[in-house]
Amino acid sequence: MSPPIPAPDVFPNKSPVPAEQSGSNRPKLGVYKFASCDGCQLALLSVENHLRQLADSVEICYFLEASSRIVPGPYDIGIVEGSVTTAHDAERIRGIRRDCRYLIAIGACATAGGIQALRNWANVEEYLSYVYAEPQYIDTLATSTAISEHVPVDFELRGCPIEPQQLLRVISDLLVDRQPRLARHSVCVECKLRQNVCVAVARGIPCLGPITQAGCGAICPSFDRECFGCFGPQENINAASWIGHCRSTDHATSRLVQLLRNVNSYDSHFREAGDGLIAKSISVEPS
């Protein structure tokens, strides 16, 4: 097998974050969790080589998963993982927004509702009674929604999980009041750069790579499988042409819909494309 090209290190030689700032003048950082798997917070703890530098450059004031130390806000940067699924959380995110100068939503949960947004097409009462013997004990909303549906968000970082180097880059940009910029091309482009054999063309497997935002380094196609869109839709997505291509190769509508309805199912672009496919198949093949 060809050696995989590692995802680009955005800080090849230099420190990811400005050099150590003195004691209490360090910018304050809060990390919050909503409905999620903890994977994106863990990604932040997985920047082994840069972790101590990060801790020297910012003051970690609120990060329940990593620290028992809680310093009251306001904070310079708030990082939010997870989606809003309870009335209490819908209230909590407003308080966090008031507390944080910059708010970054990280991961598919926080930017699109996550895998748990699949409930948005279902009857949540039925979901409750399927999983819990005593559904009356559970407090939940009918939908799982992105942070930006509740409060203004300064930057959305995609991925399930996020790419940790991208987060470091966004933090370091915000620390110097610079607008963070990340690649906006598709996974398909990354895949070509890695000189992969295209799974869609060569093997006839439906792949979301052409309409998914770059950032992962086209991991899935490099492992001979389809991209299922964990980095969410690319900017200027052309879902119609993707659907057209898949249709021309006879893929079942149900398969295409399932690809679109995965961890980023409730993102507006993937949602419209999936819903549109279903509406069409109902009008074309009346049952």
């Binding site: 050696p3 994977g39 863990l42 970690i60 748990q116 999983v131 799982s144 490099s222």
Partner: protein
Amino acid sequence: MTEVRKFSVGALTRVEGEGALEIHLRGSQVERIELRIYEPPRFFEALLRGRDLREVPDIVARICGICPVAYQMSACQALEKALGMTLPPEISHLRRLLYCGEWIESHTLHMIMLHAPDFLGFENSLEMARKHPDLFDSGLRIRKLGNDLLTILGGRAIHPINIAVGGFYRTPSAERLRGLLHEIVWAKTKLPELLRQMADWNFPQFEQDYQFVSLHEPHEYPLNTGCVAASDGLSIPIEDYEQHFREVHQPHSTALQSLRLPSLTTYLVGPLARFQLCRSQLTPAAASLANQLLGSVPLRNNAFSLLVRGIEVLFAIETAETLIRCYRDHGFPCRVEIPRRSGWGCHATEAPRGLLYHRYEVDEQGQISTATIIPPTSQNQAQIESDLRALVPSLLSASDAEATRACENLIRHYDPCISCATHFLRVRWRQNGTLRREGEPV
């Protein structure tokens, strides 16, 4: 008037997920203990229905970012049983290697970043790192070894994408795996050194008569396979699990608690349980270090799970070395064809936090019709509450802050994963730990 005291810790920290603890005392009597799981439910079992069975490893991974491989391994093997598939030994070996990667990653994360600060008196591992840089940096370097294994085999460390029902999407490269041998050799010397230092730390004295439950294999320490064994001699096939253990839904929690039948008793899963039931199956260096550090008397103090995790990491490193040295990346299919048929199957594997059970029914279209997932933290939850009930009376003379810290530390010995349990944890000693007098109840 009897003195009524309630403790509440605003939020349990250094655990995975969100939960709370409430303890109500009347005089020296513990009235009520509730480990509350605040983590909102994510309904995995419900949303899996109707999905193509090939999507299951990618979906269930999202239950937990700390131990996605455990979910993938239990799910794949349950589905393979449902479909009557048999896999070549090479794939089983690669899966064992993959699981070693996750044990190394998850255990060192808990030991160094979440648990060790309790023993050394820090609020977090980064403060600890300033005073104990070697512990922190070496711990992270070992953890990176786990992450590198996961990345080579799975494509990435969190939510690996190379795991399929039937095997792997692509055969991992032997050359890249052999590139890790140098780090493995270093870690085999460094880790025992760190663990010897840790063994000198002050361990709280708190022993319970646990009923241990874990998988058990006659010839190897359990990861992917085994029968379900308990310290009272129970030994049953995984298929009989649900006849011996039952999930019960408690009002204060979005996680289901699991208890042992017939009399709904608590039990303990995880490192201590595995170690007690399977220590004779450890690899040589891990076994001899265990004898040096822990002796041969049965362990009943879960604080020692810190050392047991370290011993299990050493086991995983030794196992990884052997598997990598024997591995050839050709001569076997990376994945077995999935037959089209209906069926049901269940399987359990040893997640870093303990036994993880999955059961699925599949229809003729290859879609999931029912799913049941029983994570380790919901099995331990009742045991944690039982431990707290036993611990709290000894804390009556302690200040609220000390009592609260002792309870939080006890919970952290379990390395509970709340995200898993809801499919975990904020400790709330109500009224922020202030001593309060209240009237007699009605």
